[in-house]
């Protein structure tokens, strides 16, 4: 009974801010007050019609898609190399590949800013994409690595003995068996990239900024529930992605393996 109460309290504590934001997003008045005074969708209309948000959403889409497209293959190869390769200092390589997880966002952001300025790339979206690749890579490497570890090398030997060239072995055996890890990595990468804020704040401008940065800028200037409406859309979209992944790709299995 006590245990159940503790769990209930924890769940409430974790979800309450989200609930508040969702409730406030339907507030008909222009103040961020809780509980809401009524029900209205005007802030949703405002958000969807706001040009800077439209541009930022498009930026987010491009940056995330590009970053994931680059990070997934690179991360997969890195995971294979870490597990299989005759690598000197394997632990050091692994630590370096996973290091963005422990570097504070502000430090990473500052670093990217200085680098981008030195290279004269501050106006370009490519810096943003490069930074996102670095930030999502640890998640891809981690997820795929788990799948590589679970892969019995005898399967690849078997395929080779049956006449498959190394490339065919990779295509027909290795890659299909890494799928759970690849999907988990893909999902993590998308969620991390879409929600990335601190580093992106340093290296984007009004033209290249992604959605979280645009939201921050908006909040600094205005205090109407638009931002709550956008957050609610954001939460909904993320939730949908995770739910779909779990439903159709069996995300749960990735973590329950072993």
């Amino acid at each position: 009974m006590t245990l159940r109460l503790v769990v209930a309290a924890l769940v409430a504590f974790m979800t309450l801010p989200t609930v508040v934001v969702i409730a406030v997003s339907f507030n008909p008045t222009a103040i961020l007050s809780f509980p809401p005074a009524g029900f209205s969708l005007r802030w949703y209309a405002n958000v969807l019609g706001y040009p800077q948000f439209q541009r930022a959403a498009l930026n987010s889409l491009v940056v995330t898609a590009a970053a994931v497209a680059v990070a997934l293959p690179i991360g997969t190869l890195a995971a294979l190399a870490l597990e299989r390769g005759r690598l000197r200092g394997r632990n050091l390589w692994a630590a370096l590949l996973l290091s963005p997880l422990v570097v504070p966002g502000v430090a990473a952001g500052l670093g990217f800013l200085i680098l981008a300025a030195a290279l004269g790339l501050l106006r370009s979206r490519s810096v943003l994409i490069a930074a996102h690749v670095a930030l999502v890579l640890p998640f891809v490497v981690r997820s795929v690595w788990v799948s590589v570890r679970n892969l019995d090398p005898a399967l690849e030997r078997a395929a080779a003995s049956l006449g498959a060239t190394p490339w065919r072995v990779f295509r027909r055996v290795t890659l299909p068996l890494l799928r759970p890890g690849l999907f988990a990595g893909l999902l993590f990468a998308i969620v991390v990239s879409v929600n990335e804020f601190v580093v992106s704040l340093f290296i984007s401008n009004r033209v290249t900024e992604i959605l979280p940065v645009a939201m921050f800028t908006y909040v600094v200037n205005y205090t109407d529930p638009s931002i709550a409406a956008l957050s609610t859309l954001f939460i909904g979209a993320t939730f949908l992605v995770v739910w779909l992944a779990d439903r159709y790709l069996g995300l749960g299995r990735v973590f329950l393996q072993h």
């Binding site: 005898a154 078997a158 003995s161 498959a164």
Partner: protein, 351 residues
């Protein structure tokens, strides 16, 4: 002499300073079932991997049908391999697992269906093609692995402890089935095992391996009846090794003044120290003293139903293992003195 399908010439393989296979020479004959038998770490699996092309020899060469295949990658050797863990592809159906080798050889679809059907029928799994390997029992998975390795008619099939993962009852069933399939297909087979019963029951010839070398190569009966070395005598079947000094060309002094007559293939030199092995089932209980009979004190008894394993000690302290067929002619008890008859022809002279 039959033609060698697979030949290893002076093959050596080192793993970071450890010599797994040591200057090995071996020829596998057309259509034969050859076992590589030995304890773990004797180099039998490395030998198999050398033939399969999974590892390359540090020195020496490997020939298939007289052609040097050293350095040729596994996928170009065209051999069939069955793994201890079966290594079935979990993401493919049973049908596609078996079809894998044919698809890699770009065999047309209709022929793939026909040949996979035949192969699955051979291993009595023709109705399981649509299932996933994980839905089958261990014995069935084993048969799928066998079908997968046979379907493209390789020159040689290599079996790496294929029965080790099965429980005892199933293992015995699979053993006879494996032999039947191998006979009906007539394929040259190299079989790796640490289980002497499997090797004795299945093989045309056995290569007993120890420390990267072949200790003895021969037919099962030859290996069992005439072990060439103490290692082989110990490893294959149970045996008692007696040490003694030759007092005549066919007389050996053991246990003090007692002497045994020995009918071995070569004459003994007087005064030479030799080791003789004898199988525990060849030693008999004698009613009393006589020719080739020694007295021994029973130390231990293990009743096994059909027989009792008796450990006894001779006057000079050498231990003897005796299998007494039940029911025993006299009641046996620890501490009791028995008369043991050692038939002269049952002794095996060790090198």
């Amino acid at each position: 002499m039959a033609k060698a399908v697979v030949e290893l010439r002076g093959c050596t393989r080192d793993y970071g300073g450890v010599r797994a296979v040591d200057a090995l020479d071996l020829g596998v004959h057309e259509g034969e079932f050859l076992s590589l038998l030995g304890p773990s770490g004797c180099g039998k699996t490395t030998t198999l991997n050398l033939i399969a092309g999974f590892v390359e020899p540090t020195a020496g060469c490997i020939l298939v049908d007289g052609e040097d295949v050293t350095g040729r990658p596994a996928h170009l050797r065209g051999l069939g391999v069955v793994f201890q863990s079966y290594a079935l592809f979990p993401h493919l159906s049973v049908f596609e697992n078996v079809a894998f080798g044919l698809r890699e050889r770009r065999v047309p679809g209709g022929e793939v269906a026909r040949r996979v059907g035949d192969a699955l029928e051979l291993v009595r799994l023709d109705r399981r093609g649509g299932q996933r390997p994980s839905e089958l029992s261990g014995g069935m998975q084993q048969r799928v692995a066998l079908a997968r390795a046979l379907v493209y008619r390789p020159r040689v099939v290599l079996l790496d402890e294929p029965l080790a993962a099965l429980d005892k009852k199933l293992r015995e069933e699979m053993r006879s089935e494996l032999r039947e399939i191998q006979r009906s297909v007539g394929i040259t087979t190299v079989f790796v095992t640490h289980d002497q019963t499997e090797a004795l029951g299945l093989s045309d010839r056995i290569a007993v391996m120890s420390r990267g070398r072949i200790e003895q190569l021969g037919a099962p009966r030859e290996i069992y009846d005439h072990p060439a070395t103490r290692f082989v005598a110990d490893f294959i079947g149970a045996s008692t090794v007696l040490r003694g000094r030759a007092v005549a060309v066919d007389q050996l002094a053991v246990a003090g003044d007692a002497s045994l007559r020995v009918a071995s293939c070569r004459a003994l030199r007087v005064g030479e120290e030799v080791e003789l092995a004898i199988r525990p089932e060849r030693v008999r209980l004698a009613p009393g003293p006589g020719d080739n009979v020694l007295d021994a004190r029973i130390e231990g008894l293990v009743y096994q139903g059909a027989q009792t394993e008796v450990t006894a000690r001779l006057g000079d302290g050498q231990r003897v293992l005796v299998f007494v067929t039940e029911p025993a002619p006299v009641p046996l008890a620890p501490g009791q003195t028995v008369h043991l008859h050692f038939p002269a022809a049952a002794f095996m002279l060790l090198a």
